[in-house]
């Protein structure tokens, strides 16, 4: 009886460990993945800008359904990486921030897409 429960416990332990490994793997799905673009909101920003010539800060905010702070932090990271270009201007005396996808950003999205397609393709070939 005691042996059985010890066995059960050890199985549970193993399962937990396995789960940890799996979730860790899920966080880092593949080596060589563009981590910058992999994050959900940043991926969303890049995708939205791929479908539009330009989008304003407010357009993106309502599209992504996020807060000012969150959007500006992630947009800044993409800007620092050179994936998006930002222009600030005034319209009717109100500040207007416009975002545009750069050629590097377009390439990053395309390689991310092909990365995902490769993963799916590998699965199908099994």
């Amino acid at each position: 009886m005691a042996r059985q429960s010890a066995l059960k416990e050890s199985t549970q332990k193993k399962q937990r460990a396995l789960q940890e490994v799996r979730s860790a793997k899920a966080e880092h799905p593949a080596p060589g993945l563009d981590r910058l673009i992999h994050e959900r909101l940043r991926l969303g920003i890049v995708s939205a800008l791929a479908a539009n010539e330009t989008l304003t800060f407010n357009d993106l905010k309502s599209l992504m359904n996020t807060t000012d702070g969150n959007l500006s932090v992630h947009a800044r990271k993409l800007e620092d990486a050179g994936y998006i270009a930002v222009t600030k201007s005034f319209e009717d005396r109100l500040p207007k921030t416009e975002y545009k996808l750069t050629a590097a950003g377009q390439r990053a999205l395309e390689s991310y897409l092909s990365h995902m397609e490769t993963i799916i393709g590998q699965m199908r070939n099994r």
Binding site: K14, E53, M116
Partner: protein, 204 residues
């Protein structure tokens, strides 16, 4: 335990990875579709539709027989649909993404039920001899279609729908002699004004 990692992890991992990759692709596609529906209403196309509507209302105003008046506007609907389809397609193509599947679908789906309802009601009103109500009805129903179709779009689109509805409501109450003016103001004027706003603010 370390053995378990080596043996089991590779077996279990691919489905999760695969599912996540699929999920990521889906997310990209949905975001792009949403973002496209956001501005795929082409401002330039809308101005063009407004101009053809002005021409149509000028021609229609000269018709003494209602059937001819209706024929002019039916022709205008065909022209407007062609312009809308072409300009939205061109704007969507500018995105250069093969992932895009029918970006205008959402807008088309929400715009077509009120237009179909309008067509059926036009027939019913014509049969009942209530042709004076038709311009107001068209403006009103087109407005509702624009509001629902523009729900996911930039906020000026639903605003345009509200203007159409307001104009339609006034047209329904106004004396029949003004019908052509309301048609020109709505399908011509409102399209041109909002088209310019959209073109200037949202690239084309």
């Amino acid at each position: 335990m370390s053995q378990l990692h080596i043996v089991s992890a590779p077996k279990e991992e691919p489905p999760a990875l695969h599912a996540r990759a699929m999920d990521n692709l889906k997310y990209i596609r949905e975001t792009m579709e949403r973002a496209t529906a956001f501005t795929n209403i082409s401002g330039g196309g809308q101005v063009a539709i407004g101009v053809t509507a002005l021409v149509a209302s000028a021609i229609a105003a000269r018709q003494s027989v209602f059937k001819n008046w209706l024929a002019v506007w039916c022709a205008e609907v065909v022209v407007a649909l062609l312009i809308a389809g072409w300009s939205m397609d061109r704007k969507a193509r500018a995105a250069k993404m093969p992932l895009l599947s029918g970006p205008g679908r959402k807008v088309a789906f929400s715009l077509s039920p009120p237009i179909l309802a309008g067509a059926l009601l036009t027939v019913a009103l014509y049969r009942a001899g209530l042709v004076n109500a038709i311009p107001g009805l068209w403006l009103l129903l087109y407005g509702t279609g624009v509001i629902t179709g523009g729900m996911f779009s930039i906020s000026v689109v639903p605003l345009m729908g509200i203007c159409f509805m307001a104009l339609g409501a006034v047209a329904l109450m106004a004396p029949p002699g003004f019908a052509d003016w309301f048609m020109a103001a709505g399908f011509g004027g409102l399209h041109i004004v909002f088209g310019i706003v959209i073109a200037r603010r949202y690239g084309g």
